[in-house]
Amino acid sequence: MTPDTEHLRVQIGMNLSWRYAKGRQFTHFFKTLREERRFLGLRCSECRRVYLPPRPTCGNCYAELTEWVKVQDTGTVRAFTVVYLPILDAAGQPRSVPYGMALIQLDGADTTLNHYLAETDLSKLRIGLRVQAVWRRERQGNMGDILHFRVLEKLQ
């Protein structure tokens, strides 16, 4: 084998598109998000757990979830990270880095929501931080209707 100094790369681009049904629960959830600028959760009739994002059945009790309850647009950071590698965001679009991501437990919900944080300074982020949703003016009925969550507390 003769050594070859030239090293070639193989470049491939792929565009994938998807379309799936929101289902009854997400359809109602996103409609309220767009029209009323409000979060709704689903409460389990047995264990009283409030699910947000909504889902058809309780993960603990297997009970059908039908009781919609109002959830605040303020919440508490339960986990967070700051993304530095340029990568596609959850909607498949490029997003400029750095950006913060967090699991946020909204006031009135028992589960956490995965969303963006406006704050990207790691020294200012901590678990337990209070945050609030920043709503998009022109809402379309999807998770992008919330731009990101901003920190509510005064930063040290």
Binding site: H7, L8, R9, I12, M14, L16, T27, G92, G141
Partner: protein, 159 residues
Amino acid sequence: MRKEDQAVTGQISLTFSYAAGQTGSRFFAELRDHRRIIGTSCSECHRVLVPARQFCSHCVAAAGGWVEVSPRGTLVSYTVIPQVQPHQKHLLSHLPTGPLIYGLIRLEGADTNLVHLLGEIPPETVRIGMRVQAVFREKREGNILDITYFKPVIEQRAL
């Protein structure tokens, strides 16, 4: 309720860039610079591997050397793609006409099959065992699409 309100739509663009490696780089450079298809032969079983590989997948032995193979070969298998997926669309621009047809080609001098496109052939006339030949691209860039597609060999018949 409008149908759009009941669906979530999205799109994702994925880009890949991977190193062809020492052997793959030489294989692609030969295509680009000399319109030559080269393989490697196994130092133990002497099979000729096309595209060129660094080692034999049967013997796990290092390839012994480079072998030039013919741009002509035999169609081992094929499939016609009536419904082109989004990630396959760019391949249609390489063909004079549709549909997209994938072929598995055993080049003369090779002991493995090469996956490529078939062109200049109506899908109803494709048959296993037919003779095909590589059509090289004018502007070559050092990748597998430097061969645009494989077309049928028109055999010269003796009068």
